[in-house]
Structure formats: C-alpha cells, structure tokens
Assembly symmetry: C2
Homo-oligomer: 344 residues x 2
Amino acid sequence: MMTSEEIARLCGVSRTTVSRVINNNPNVKEETRQKILAMIKENNYVPIEHARRLAGVDSNIIGLFVLDINISESKERVSKSTYFSQLVNLIIDQANNLGFQVLVSIITSEKQLDEIKNLFISRTVISGIFIGAFNELPQLNDFVISQYPTIIIDYQPKATSNESNRLVINMDNFSGAYKATQFLIKSGHTRIGHISGDLRKLSGIERYEGYKKALLDANLCFDKSIVREGNFLEDSGYLLTHELLKENITAIFCANDVMAISAIKAVKEKGLNVPDDISVIGFDNIAIGNYIMPALTTVDAPLELIAEACVDSLKYFCKNKHFKQKEIRIKTNLILRQSTKVIS
Amino acid sequence: MMTSEEIARLCGVSRTTVSRVINNNPNVKEETRQKILAMIKENNYVPIEHARRLAGVDSNIIGLFVLDINISESKERVSKSTYFSQLVNLIIDQANNLGFQVLVSIITSEKQLDEIKNLFISRTVISGIFIGAFNELPQLNDFVISQYPTIIIDYQPKATSNESNRLVINMDNFSGAYKATQFLIKSGHTRIGHISGDLRKLSGIERYEGYKKALLDANLCFDKSIVREGNFLEDSGYLLTHELLKENITAIFCANDVMAISAIKAVKEKGLNVPDDISVIGFDNIAIGNYIMPALTTVDAPLELIAEACVDSLKYFCKNKHFKQKEIRIKTNLILRQSTKVIS
DNA sequence: CTGAAAGCGCTAACAA
DNA sequence: TTGTTAGCGCTTTCAG
C-alpha cells in the first residue's frame, strides 16, 4: 500500500515534506514540490483520510439528516416525496461543488436519531443539516444542535441559546401563501378552500397563516369548514378535495403541488372542470406541475436557493466558526398557469 | 474530551478492556462489562471513528454515486428526476437499516469522478454503488470498479475481469417493455409509437428492444418513423409526442412515466383525448401517475427491490468478500389504469 | 479474564 | 527549506 512514507522514500525526502506538499504548505522548494507531486500522481497516492483526521485535519463530511418519523399511521414517507428528494439532491450537488462530501441519513426512529448524535461525537461529520423536523422538534436531541454547527430547514427555533452555531433556513411560506390566496380573491373567488400541509411543520403552519391573513385582509370571513388538514402527500390532497367539494367552494389553495395535482384529479372525477368550475393553486413549483393538464398555477419556492444558502453558510462557518446570520428567508413567487381562472 | 483512556481510568481498568467491550469481545467479565457500559453511557462516550478506522476497523460508509455527466446540452439533470431521487432515498433508507452510512455524490464532471476514486483510495468509503452510468461507461474509471466492491445499477458489463467484486442490478426492462407493447397490440393497436429513454443507458436500450420484439412477434412491422429518441425527462416526452402525433398513431409507449405524463399533456393540447384517441403507457410506476387524469397505465418497476438487493448484496459482500451473484434482475409488472383503451 | 506495548498513517511543533 | 520527534485515539498481538 502506498503511504506518505513510501512517497518520501521514493523522492529522497522526509514524510514531513510530503505532508507539507499535500497540505499546500508554502515552505517547500518548488523543485521538491514538483518532484513529490509527480511521484504522488505516478503512484496514485491519496492519503488515508482517517489518518489525517486523527492527526487533526478537519473532516469535510457534512451530515444531511432527513427526519421522517411517524408522519402518519400509514407507511408513507415524506423522504420519498418529490420535494424532499429534490432538496436532498440539490444540497448534495452544491456541497460537492464546494468541496464537501455529504453523508445522508434518513431518520425513521428514535434509535436512528441517537445514531445521528454519534456521527457528531465520533467526528464522522463536522456539521449537520436537518430537514423535515416537526416544529416542536421533540425528537431532535438538543445536545447535538447546541454543540455542533447545525442548519435546520423549515423550522422555527424556540430557545435562543447558543445561536452562533445554529442557522435556520426557511421559505417565505407566509407571503407565498398570502400571494396565492390574494390572487384567488382578486380573481373573484370568495369561497376558497385550503388543504393544509402537515401542521406540525413550519411550512404547513405558515402557509395556513398566509391563507388566513389574505382572507381577513380582504374582509372575507375565514371559514374553518372549508379547511382540511393534509400532510403534503398525494392521497391527502385527493381525499380531502373530495370532502371539500361538498362545501360549495370555487377554489382550493393546496399547501403543495403534489396535493394540488391530486386535488385536480378529484375535481375531475367529480365531473367538474379545472379551472372552469374550480380553481386550484399549489405551492413549490415542482417540475411535473407544468406538464399536467391544466398546467398548475403555483408558488415558486426555489429549492436551489435553499441548497445554496445551506452550503454557502456552512462554508462561511468553517472559516469563521460562526454563522453570518441566524435565519435566512427565501423569497417565493406566484407562477400563473392554467389551473386558475377569473370568475364573475 | 472523552476518550477510551478516560473511561478506562474511571472504571479502574485498561483501555484494552474498554476496547474489548466496545467491540463485543467475549473475553470480559460480565461485571466489568456492565460497569464499563454504564460509564460509557453516563459520559456519552462514542469512540472517534477515525481512530478506530486507522487502527484497522473497517468503515461502514458506502458511497452512492449518481453519474450525471452531460445528459444533453441543456442544464437538465437526471439526478433531479423523481426516479433517481427516489432510488437514492430508498437505498439510503435500506442501508441505514442494515447499519451502513451512505455518502452520496453527484458526479457532473470528469474532475468529480476522479475525486470519487480518491474516496476509495483514502478509505473514506469501503464500497460503492453507481447509478446513472451510460452503458459504454467511458467515464467510469475501471480502476475503481476493478479494485473495490462495486454495484452498478442499470448497466450491462462488457469485460469479465475480476467479477467477484462487481455486481450488476437491473430492472427486467426488456420483458416490461414487451408486456406493455404486447398489451397495446392485444388492445387492437397497430400503430404504436415509442418515445425511448436515453439510448446510452441500458434501460433505454432494453425498453426499446422489448418494444421492437413485441411488435415483431405480433407480425406488426417495426416502423422507425414512429419512434423518437427521448431522454427520460419531461420536456422530451412533451416535445416528441407533438412530433409523433403527426404520424397517424393510436398509442404511445413511453420509456418512463415522466415522459408519459407530459405526452398526455401534449395529446390533450392537440385537442385529442387519452385514452379515447390515443392510448399512453409509461414505465416505472411513479406515485403521481396514479393521481393524474387519466390515471397512467404503466409498468411497475419497483425501486424498493433494487435498493434492497443493493444493500443485501453489500452486506453479503462484507461477510464473504465476494458477491453471491453477478447480476440481479428485478421483475416488472404491467399496471392497468385508465390511459389505455381497447380499440376496434 | 486483563494489561502492556506496539502500531495504524498522518500532521505539527521544534530544531536545524 | 527540511528533518526529527511526538503524538492523534484506537485496536490488537502477546504475556500474564
């Protein structure tokens, strides 16, 4: 096996010098450096990570933890949803671009959550990104998020302890939902139903709040009987729409696109038309939304920006040992397509 | 910082004994073991991974590599597709369940591919799973797949060198496509278009082959003018369907669901109806396919089984230092829904 | 059943 | 500019 010792011998220098070259230490004669570099390349030498880490070099592995505990009695998993999958991929991609490796874990039980903690303590990862947490976060061990640099996506922190190594990144759910609802109101709708997301999650809560506020600001009464609590997954959109259609509504604001798409199916099954009879609007702007009929009006919530913010912030943290800010909000935009319509 | 030394001191034993407990070595008096275990728990002690690795304990990190080089001139990424995202998630989930950690990397350039190689050499990962490779695999460095235990999904290996540490896992694309096409034929269709997947990938090739064979077996002529080469992504399904509709066809077999869904949109835009005018059938059985109108007839290609096969095989490899088999084929099943129809 | 000692491959003072 | 030396925290022979 190739070691730095071996490279050193081959070059007639000491291991230290080889180490200097590897770590870009300037105190090496250019000629020596080139010679060593060549030898390294020739022998396909790569230092054993564990040895470097043990000797004090920081790991470049960040943990990406998808919390997916007990979403419902069923075996449905948010981690399988388009939305989460995409976000995971985007974060990995961004991280790889900035020189991080990403260890992804899907947490489906308390036991697994403990193992996550160990990833930090054992220094397998240097920091972590959490997604999918319930806002109460009863599950997430405070120990971890207080001791290690941590980013939480879609979460409203409670305590204010030790904030310098914790960052929260959120969509601007409230104003996105507000804009969506307001748009429906401006289009003449007054009976606007809402299928919420999981209300244990910040995005679910805030989108619901935005919907309510828009209603109130327009002097429309907020009628709880045309609101249903969904869970961001296909079947809830489908089933709850069937319920909602009994309530004399002309529009539905769904807390995400997946539910909106299945809402459209439910509407059609009822013999009604989207958008002629019922307007439907989603949230997220997933790719397929533009490829269904009618194309889905939605709120663009760019996951790329979340991924970027994550990784940039982590990079910043590595340099400065603290995050630049406590919270980042990502702007959302209404995307008008064909699933909504002006009514008289 | 807590170390095994410290635990040892606290318990009045040597590090060796603590190490034995951690590694489940039976040669420890039960009483001593319990005492140490308690102390470990009390102090939240977890051994530093790097130190263990350096001392010879195998890593439990497997690499999951999504090859996503240059799919087309555009910036589209297969790694963002529902299909890949899901597969990635499923593999992670399975792996976590069997005690592996998963390091995911998305490879978008030759440079990144080199870095992958380093992950093996530096012993960051002990083995790797590759998905998204072009069948020619000009990019994938043979060095890696010949030296390290490697699983490749959706790939037809050429060489037969060093097979004991390489496993290929594939869907039964051919028979799935065959069944789909045959079903359309039995439903009375004779002019059946095909929108293929990326023909640089095995799944693209084999689904195309299955389509052809079914046609030939039914004595229908294979007409290249009603075949279009797609790329498994939304827009190709959409655009190519518009082309295909000029060709006097009554059915389209799309190489995956995402293209099938956008094909349906294209058909509707043309003022035609699915399935009355045009039958559409997909492949993959993604979740949303059941929630569009009409619900998509498709070929179920269960990613869970691939994920399971992957991780089980890896587990087996860890024990026996070789894979149990060279190739695994996952069965596919036709799922009949509403996007296809019998014609006279 | 337990401990002493050596060593995994690397980095980082400190000296030269 | 380079080398010597001493660890990093753990596992693992080998003795006892």
